[in-house]
Symmetry: C2
Subunit: 437 residues, 2 copies
């Protein structure tokens, strides 16, 4: 395929994507396929000779789409949102076209510099303490990781290295293995200090945890993967109070800030904590600016060596939505979750299982876990909407997460009516069965 054919096919693909997203509500949100469905549909090895774009393109609807769970359907209420917006899609196209690998400043200065400035923009939007920002000569700064898991791992490794070095300087007779065996990571069953846990979107009290960490010289990492995006709204910013005690902080614009996966924003107060742990300097990656202290080489801030130009997505989204546009998006989702909350509260067969703070409602039928498992099963078998469950203190709970960018009040109302009807049907059978037993 040459550039001329790419012009033609690229435009067809743009239309295909626009069609897909415009009419996604017409597709069944969860697929019908069974495990192993795909293998028999395609050859068992790669073709020797090239196939045409048409050959491949027609297989998208034939082979791929029947097995896709449609995360951007307004009937998708599972997990947490996966961000998607047109400006982010455009930026990702550009990122692919440029195709640079930004492991060092010199490998593509724009890739590094835009990222540093975008993380400052984003940090200011959530009112992060100045120490976390890079500015022109700050000691802190931000970086885009692939996922919150990677940010947590990086923090853990940096904290470990820092603590081992401190212990070694205090007690030079100890070996690294001696120290390693005595290190302790404090965590709840959601792991580190978390703002917006996955099961029920609960919040750790940073203002209580923070001073303890400071006093005991414990690295505090805060994971706000989902909830972090909400902190751009002043009315939710208080949930971040106490971040000033943290060493590192992370949230995922690829969840709730309309920036397509992957874009996990991480900040540290001392960049030297990361570079001290991960620095790697083979000659082929050195460049004459690195001695100056003026440049950032992001390979020292992450596990992989290679990295894409992901800050373009942030730049496009922040500019084309503006802070107000993004705030509207967050507020709409929170409003819709409260709408669902009120519908649940009006039906005395149901109970709420956690406070609704942002875009997640945890609810269940009053009754046994088995009853609620049966309700979820009937919801997900009907495939008109899609939910996943969680456990909250031994209870089996249904999670209703506002996910799609295009979800509206009508979809929430439909979802509730559907759940309510399925509950009615279920309770009828359930009571009959109970009666017969």
């Amino acid at each position: 395929m040459d550039a001329a054919e790419f012009r033609k096919r690229g435009k067809e693909m743009v239309d295909y994507i626009a069609d897909y997203l415009e009419k996604i509500d017409k597709r069944q949100v969860f697929p019908d396929v069974e495990p192993g469905y795909l293998r028999p549909l395609i050859p068992d090895c790669a073709p020797q000779d090239p196939e045409s774009f048409e050959d491949v393109f027609k297989d998208i609807e034939k082979i791929i789409m029947p097995g896709v769970t449609h995360w951007h359907s307004p009937y998708f209420f599972a997990y947490f949102p996966a961000a998607s917006s047109f400006p982010a899609l455009l930026a990702d196209m550009l990122c692919g076209g440029i195709g640079c690998v930004g492991f060092s400043w010199a490998a593509s200065p724009a890739c590094t510099e835009l990222e540093t400035v975008m993380l400052d923009w984003l940090g200011k939007m959530i009112n992060l303490p100045e120490e976390f920002l890079a500015g022109k000569d700050g000691r802190g700064g931000g970086v885009i990781q692939g996922s919150a898991s990677e940010a947590t791992l990086i923090s853990l490794l940096a904290a470990r290295t820092k603590t081992i070095r401190r212990m070694q300087s205090e007690k030079p007779e100890l070996t690294e293995a001696d120290i390693m065996g005595r290190l302790v990571a404090y965590a709840s069953d959601q792991f580190c200090a978390t703002l917006g846990t996955t099961p029920c979107c609960s919040f750790d009290k940073l203002v209580e945890l923070g001073p303890i960490c400071t006093k005991e010289n414990i690295w505090m990492h805060i994971d706000a993967a989902y909830a972090g995006s909400a902190f751009i709204c002043p009315e939710f910013r208080h949930l971040l109070n106490g971040v000033e005690f943290a060493d590192s902080f992370n949230f995922n614009p690829h969840k709730w800030l309309l920036v397509n996966f992957d874009c996990s924003a991480m900040w540290v107060k001392k960049r030297s904590d990361l570079t001290g742990a991960f620095k790697l300097e083979p000659l082929y990656l050195q460049h004459h600016h690195q001695e100056s202290g003026l440049v950032t080489d992001y390979r020292h801030w992450q596990i992989p060596l290679g990295r894409r130009f992901r800050s373009l997505k942030l730049w496009f989204v922040l500019r084309m939505y503006g802070v107000t546009g993004l705030q509207e998006h967050i507020r709409k989702h929170v409003r819709l979750s409260h709408q669902f909350e009120h519908l649940v509260l009006q039906d005395e067969r149901f109970e709420l299982c956690a406070e609704v703070v942002l875009g997640l409602v945890c609810f269940r039928l009053k009754g046994s876990n088995d009853l609620n498992k049966a309700l979820l099963e009937s919801i997900n078998e009907a495939k008109k909407i899609h939910l996943v469950p969680c456990h909250l203190r031994e209870k089996f709970v249904l999670r209703f997460a506002i996910c799609s960018r295009t979800v509206e009040s009508t979809h929430v109302k439909f979802a509730w009516q559907h759940i309510s009807q399925l509950a009615t049907d279920l309770l009828k059978t359930w009571e009959q069965n109970q009666h017969q037993q």
Copy 2:
């Protein structure tokens, strides 16, 4: 931005990318900017109100492009290739449009199943032993990681877990910390068993290392990040002999197989070695098929939880190039590196520093390291081509890597004439300076 505007802007972006790649040879391969160039060019915080696409679009040439190192320029001979092709760009657009997060089979069955089958296709293309393939009911299989570093880390962690468990079952009195302190990772200065090292593309002898690892119960991970793509050509497959001794094997189609970053292919003989180390089963990620043993949940195979639909890129590229088209690409690059090798050999001022096996030529002026540093500096300051150096046994060496998909014999000839002329100029000054001292 709504779908209608995306149709318009997406097509403009397709044209912009096609223009960029078609005329990339007209751009200076390495930028003129100095560290910190970008920050003063943009506002210091995100706009409150939305800006238009035109506002953002015009800043690409104004703000971004002046700071881009053009990895796909035919005058780029630095590092190793970063793969790029039109079919991969189209597939990545589709991946973004679908925007699913494939951490479990149920989260998007097509995303998981296409990946498993594509890794089988790719494994067959390089004639990997059957044990590494998933097939319908194999114990092995492949997964797409973000980078070779991640694949190495995963292998290391899986090997560690496996060894600790073995030791604990043999000697239950040992604590995990006791065992950890005694674990040994054997590596050269390129780390694990490597096929095609970054400095000079050298190859470890797997048929010597392998039996030792087997005898001593050592996990053998093989990293063929760059070189692996060449094994699709029968004439280079012998370099992979001995892979049958490995526990895990990895190479990067995003380097040399025309699949845009990120796509790092990793295979293991026993998938249970990975899932045993990384398994994570909160209720909200469970689905009723997982007990069946029929499905793969790739979150157990990697560090991140989230994952994009990256196998689409492999599917598009393998089908639209065919095996023969990809072999042609590899062979062209190897032919061009030999062309450069011959040009170096004909000039008695220069010496080759390593055997030219694939697409990399390591060479230097006969003489001091300082002389060669000065030569590289004059090459990279002229910015007509771009190279990076390496150290080979204390010697400062220039690396000439064939990188771009569109590089041809004329570009290689031009590069050599340019280097040769700069060497002439340099040697004149150098000798004068030596004379004066």
